[in-house]
Amino acid sequence: MAINPLGLIAGATAFLGIWFGHVSVRRIEAQSTKLWHPMVIYLAAGLILELGAFFMSNKALSMVCGITGITLLWDVLEFKRQERRVQKGHAQPNPANPRHAVLLIEPGALATKDEDPSSQSRSTTSDSKIAQPVDGVQRP
């Protein structure tokens, strides 16, 4: 019986791409003082990979580049979305990051460093895990 590994390769690439984006966007957004730096790097890497996919004659390699490139391009948007999650208090801010520190001192800011019982996101649940940066990409 003939077996076609292309689907498994595509699936594994997509899974690892989503995973990498999911973790890296949250971590880099929390550390980066200027968000446009990683955004430009991801954009360039995504475009280079898409260009590589276009010129590669091997189907599997072309597909791996195509899928990885697209996930990196999506991650460019996810950086802004993650920043918005922090602003809304849906993801934990990093007080050591000046970009996030501003959010913590702004009057009426939704981003909170400590457990705040008056915070809407926490008052409805006793699960402290909700205070963690739970929102991520792609996470489909």
Partner: protein, 110 residues
């Protein structure tokens, strides 16, 4: 010039995008305890891609399968978001078969 990778990449974006409403609706109407079933279906779809000889169809099937596997790991997080009020919370969820067994398992989170 090979457009295969580019087209599959764009299609993967659409399929991954489809995962968002699948997770939200599955959690809302069924609940996060259905995660082993979603993971199992995802695994079966991914493995079935091995038997599809048409390259583009095999690739898209594989991506659909892993999207469901990823979605199964997101169900618990989605239920926490619903509990926190970020998404509508439906109290009348359909309980899965072998609910008590599933409750003893730790829902995966990536």
């Amino acid at each position: 010039m090979n457009t295969f990778g580019l087209v599959i990449g764009l299609c993967s974006l659409l399929i991954i995008g489809l995962g968002f409403p699948i997770v939200i609706l599955c959690e809302r109407y069924l609940g996060y305890l259905w995660w082993p079933y979603m993971m199992g279906i995802g695994l079966l779809i991914t493995l079935s891609s091995l038997l599809i000889l048409t390259d583009w169809l095999s690739a898209l099937t594989g991506i659909l399968g892993v999207t469901l596997i990823w979605g199964s790991t997101e169900l618990r997080e989605q239920s926490r978001r619903a509990e926190a009020g970020w998404f509508p919370n439906n109290p009348n969820k359909i309980t899965p078969p072998y609910e008590n067994v599933i409750k003893k398992l730790k829902a995966p989170r990536l």
